[in-house]
Symmetry: C2
Subunit: 219 residues, 2 copies
Amino acid sequence: MLLDKVPMLKRADLVLASGSPRRVEILNDLLGLDVRVVASTFEENLDKSKYTPKQYVQENARLKALEVWERLIAAGEAPDLVIGGDTVVAHKGAILEKPKDTAHATEMLKSLSGTSHTVFSGVALIFRAPDSEQVIEETFCEATEVTFATLSDASIQAYVQSGEPMDKAGSYGIQAAGGQFVSGIAGCFYNVMGFPMHAFCVRMAALIDEKKMSLARAS
Amino acid sequence: MLLDKVPMLKRADLVLASGSPRRVEILNDLLGLDVRVVASTFEENLDKSKYTPKQYVQENARLKALEVWERLIAAGEAPDLVIGGDTVVAHKGAILEKPKDTAHATEMLKSLSGTSHTVFSGVALIFRAPDSEQVIEETFCEATEVTFATLSDASIQAYVQSGEPMDKAGSYGIQAAGGQFVSGIAGCFYNVMGFPMHAFCVRMAALIDEKKMSLARAS
């Protein structure tokens, strides 16, 4: 796991290509890393119909990270690692992202009420191989099943009015008031929050132990 | 669910008979309640061998809440609700609570490594029936299965040295750095944190809707 590698990683230049406060919280507050945010300007305009949810979040994560990596390199910077992330909710064959407005949030929450859905979070890691100019792109994805209790109209209305759903895939935040709607999950909780913490730690630890990742600033 | 009842509940005198910062966070920060803490002085000296984990956490929660309820009533206070909570980890037939010292924490984490265990959180609610002096004690319990990845000795050592395990049942905190050890859970995440948020909301909403709970200060 990553815990014993945190002191070394804190000396590296780690960049998160996402402005999501949940991803920052997981990486910096929970894992104790010192990631800086350079939010991607990638438009997220992929044609959903051409991807499975697993492919979709990994490709979105990769394109977000790549945009930031190329922008930083063009500016003369040399980040050790750029991390991209993307999260969607898959429900009844549809991919749900952030709601467009409060009516859309209400509609999504009504459709999730009393059913189970799957949250997919994709992660992309862009870095250099040690002692080489080769740029490596790694992506992976984690799926978590989430079961919603049956929600009353009054609960949905109060929740939408709180504003919490508006910046969240599927119109709810499991890490805040929306967590009360969830009777249970199967899989990684942090994946539902937007970043598969355990899978990230396993992958990073392997890349470091197998000396596949250059961490020039940390050595 | 409880969301539409929060404005009313904020006017009630709700007491949490536990000093656990995780329980305060769930009730006040996530659910938006305004619970005050009166930590119980109950000794937690029950004979574990006489209880199943489910019975044990509910009886501990009940005795913690009852001690606070009786102390407040004796002092002339009239709380609307006292909430008690208790959490244990059940693993290979044993009940694990907080570690006694760092050696004990190391031993617990080694035993949890690469296996699954069950977290039981019990909740007790003590309140009055409406228009009556009758004191009602309700208890319930939630179980969540947690799967740990295989942990290296270096990870366990770094984690124990961080101090995080020392005040936590089972020697880990899923809501902090310890979350990286968890490959997945089955059930309620907040139950693992120490308080079954969803079950609490369902139970409270039913007690209010069915007019079984006096909330004198909130009416």
